[in-house]
Symmetry: C2
Subunit: 149 residues, 2 copies
Amino acid sequence: MPSDEPPFDPSDFLPYLLNQAAEAAGQDFQTIYKDRYGLLRTEWRVLFHLGNYGRMTAKEIGERAAIHKTKVSRAVQKLAARRYLTRERGETDRRFEYLELTATGRAVYADLRKVAQAYDARLSARFSPEEVALLRSMLRRLSGRDRAE
Amino acid sequence: MPSDEPPFDPSDFLPYLLNQAAEAAGQDFQTIYKDRYGLLRTEWRVLFHLGNYGRMTAKEIGERAAIHKTKVSRAVQKLAARRYLTRERGETDRRFEYLELTATGRAVYADLRKVAQAYDARLSARFSPEEVALLRSMLRRLSGRDRAE
DNA sequence: GGCTAACAGTTGAATTTGTAACTAACAAGG
DNA sequence: CCTTGTTAGTTACAAATTCAACTGTTAGCC
């Protein structure tokens, strides 16, 4: 016996829809970095941030990417074990560790970056440029990382 | 040393953006069903599907909501333990189990549904009706549940 | 019937994540 | 210096998720 009240399809519920879309959109790409380099999602993100912005600390990565520090910590450990990045203690403040991609790490980054761009283009191609632009801006606002609320 | 190539900010990458938005959008609501009824996300989803569409099997739920069968199985077990739903073996085919909310389950559903609707309205209010409509339709297409690709 | 394959759902072991407590390093005030 | 508080990062333990193998049941086909 469904409810008597006006239907409220779960698939109209924004958080639900966002989730479904995010999962579906990330699926194929996930298998690429997983199968090709054995990376986990967090690892891929950390790699991506370092590749794009260069040397930075774990804390910075966590803040920029909104990843919890324990996740960053574990991802960094795995990436370091694979020689994708090097860690260097801060000289003035020894609590920090400066992370930087190795040549290997940069090569992986460059490869995945290409794939990511192509993948993004493929997703975007399903809509008009204006639609995609609006989508991006709305998603940014929803994610609360855009100071425009 | 960031890459020499044109920047490709991770936060421009659609799967990434979708993920961030989904996480942010779901956060507050998650604490509601968690704190108020001790439900896990999957449990809440199963409850919602049964509340909205009425009696159905675990398999149907899994297909509609794109939840893996083991997740559904465990969610159903917890919901049954809390007497939120009843399970009934199919008479013609005893492999199936027909799931249905109890009065308690329906009450929980009704309450959460109200909250969800209000929550959705609050999220949507940040945009124009046209924008929200477009967002929903794009998300549906991305999630691949809309046969329009 | 009796064999095999397919299917709904469950369970167990291995991964992954989340929470909280922890270590090591610095900073500020006395 | 020596407390007290804060910060960057790690670790330990519990909770959740995944993957694969498993049970019980039905269907097809000889």
